[in-house]
Symmetry: C2
Subunit: 396 residues, 2 copies
């Protein structure tokens, strides 16, 4: 039994700490700001009349994104989910395959697997990165798969495990060295779900550029936005060409003929969204700085509070700190909902982690490993308001 006074004490401490950083006016979880060339480029886009499927901003956005991330190729698409879908297709994921996906991720990671007719196979997370627990996964795979020179087959389901999709949780890079080793040892393609981690680096390399293919999101709640949008990153020229082809209805180039050589998708990013993206990308470095300052202000605020940890970027990584995160100690997990309720009561948009995907009704029969740590993390995580603009507000 917890005394009400204890409950109130801890909850108030936490909420006061958040308020000391974000101020007293209502604050969203992650809101975009448009302080650069957004208007100029949008106007230029309208004046050119190229707002749709072709136009210079699409090319420019893809080029700038490749430059910034160091990926050889960037293909812009309509959102992160469509980018994941195509990334899985590029990795050869076929109906009947299995794809390793963390249970602790946004539903899109696993939904995209089903779009390919494949099944997600849920894997465990670790506290250090909030990403896939490579050590436990390796042991698990050794116990359930049969590996030959080209692929690994799940001995229980008899399905090919075609790909693994680590997600860089809240912007923090997963253990990519370890995941690369898994990918090689078991012949499983490594696709990085870097939807949340534009601006995050693992040992100097940008997330999304280490696996075979990487995926970025520019949804309105991300560090920069194109309204809705995403991108596919790869260093492989033929995959890049195929990605562009698949996302633009797989039409064969011809001056007027409409001929298509495979089932394609209408996933291209419109030029008007790319125009917004070009302006936003110019401000990414500034936003990253503001988010690191916000992290250190949260550090100051939580410094004297026992019973929780403010999540810090893993060693060997530089995180974009997309969503600032506290992880309650196990004995304090019972306070999570009270903290969330009090936050919402006073207009602070805090939120828990996503419900674990293996617990969603339609994924209950999907294969999974022991998910104890993911389950514990779900009970203990709270995401805090994280807009880069908060720092500016809080010192105003």
């Amino acid at each position: 039994m917890i005394k009400d006074s204890n409950r109130a004490g801890f909850v108030n401490q936490v909420v006061d700490a958040i308020r000391s950083v974000v101020g007293t006016t209502p604050v969203g979880l992650h809101e975009p700001t448009f302080d650069g060339n957004e208007w100029k480029y949008l106007k230029e886009c309208l004046d050119s009349s190229y707002v749709s499927s072709v136009g210079k901003f699409v090319d420019q956005f893809e080029e700038s994104l490749a430059n910034y991330t160091g990926a050889k190729y960037a293909i812009s698409v309509v959102n992160g989910t469509s980018a994941l879908h195509i990334a899985l297709k590029l990795a050869g994921v076929q109906p009947g395959d299995e794809v390793l996906v963390p249970a602790l991720t946004f539903v899109a990671t696993a939904n995209a697997v089903t779009y390919c007719g494949a099944t997600p196979h849920f894997v465990e997370s670790e506290e250090g990165t909030l990403g896939i627990d490579v050590g436990k996964l390796r042991d698990y795979l050794h116990s359930i798969v049969e590996t030959n020179s080209s692929q690994s087959i799940n001995k229980i389901t008899k399905k090919v495990i075609r790909a693994i999709v680590p997600m860089h949780t809240f912007g923090h890079p997963s253990d990519l060295d370890g995941l690369n080793l898994i990918s090689r040892e078991f012949n499983i393609a490594l696709i990085e779900d870097a939807a949340e981690s534009l601006g995050s680096f693992y040992k100097e390399k940008h997330t999304g550029t280490i696996g075979l293919v990487g995926v970025i999101s520019f949804n309105g709640n991300k560090i920069i936005t194109t309204g809705g949008g995403g991108a596919i990153l790869t260093n492989d020229k033929s995959l890049a060409t195929h990605a562009k082809h698949l996302t633009t209805t797989a039409k064969k180039p011809h001056q007027w003929d409409y001929d298509h050589d495979e089932i394609g998708y209408n996933y291209r990013m419109p030029n008007i969204n790319a125009a917004l993206g070009c302006a936003q990308l110019e401000q990414l470095t500034d936003k990253l700085k503001l988010k690191r300052i916000l992290f250190s202000r949260y550090q100051d605020a939580f410094n004297s509070i026992n019973g929780l940890t403010l999540f810090k970027e893993p060693v060997n990584t530089k995180s974009n700190y997309w969503l600032q995160t506290i992880v309650l100690n196990r004995q304090n997990e019972i306070f999570r909902d009270s903290i969330l309720e009090e936050c919402h009561r006073i207009g602070i948009s805090a939120r828990p982690a996503w419900k674990l995907l293996n617990q969603l009704e339609f994924f209950r029969t999907a294969p999974k490993m022991n998910l104890k740590c993911a389950e514990a993390l779900h009970r203990r995580i709270i995401n805090l308001p994280s807009s880069p603009s908060i720092y500016a507000k809080s010192i105003a």
Copy 2:
């Protein structure tokens, strides 16, 4: 054998007629113009900072679209292809089903069928509407299906024929009374691919509002554009609710929890694209007028040329004349490519109809009926420059 002088004579006649309407400067097939509140609304959208998945322009666009079309509900999505995908899901199309689709349509109509794990079954077109030939289809269905009180089963493939998707070709309404009868007689859901026909009416009713579900596109080449975008129309409240749910990741409403009750999609239209759409929709009536004037100018230009027909809206319909179309007489079909080549040489973006879908490599094994008329139409159709702005240009 055709004498070269004859060929040159007819080709020149046709090209000169086009040029007399569109002028001598290069002209695209269908280009958008932004003469209204586009800039104002985009600015408002940026100022509000709601550019992404929620915002007032999405609601306003959906409401205006419902008002204009007379549909009870309109759900905006990321493009016409995604609208088709969801429309098919709403109609209950499942893996293993067949869906009747004209062979003469853009590839998205049939691709969307495959996204549901179903197979397109290609059907014949008629000269009068360029849409599905209802009479021939009815006879064909009688010969190949077994119909019970709830569904029709293809006796050859043993698959359920779940839906029929007429496409209103180049904006001209198909025979919707006839299609409705087919839908009822054979228990096949009627989904209207009205991607091209915003502003087109069949007996006073807007296309896309007569079937169970209808689909609109706002791609850059359509009569109005949102950059990229589409909409689902329906008069059924529960289908509308389900459409919104499916297109927004099937998330259950909750202040902070992320729980989903079925496999969903990230298909919502961003607010910034809806802002553009609101401004464009205000100009639709004017654009429709300009397109009818353009048609009558083409009429004047082609009046004295034998050997072709300028396609006119079918009886009982009012077409948006999305793409102006000439249909060469059978003996002149051999001139189609020469006309296209000459047009392109002088900067006029004319184009033929899409390659018939049953002839695409990946649809070659799909079931189909006799497609003689569709094949003939494909050899004879040329789409002409059709931008509403051309009339203004040509009288300038």
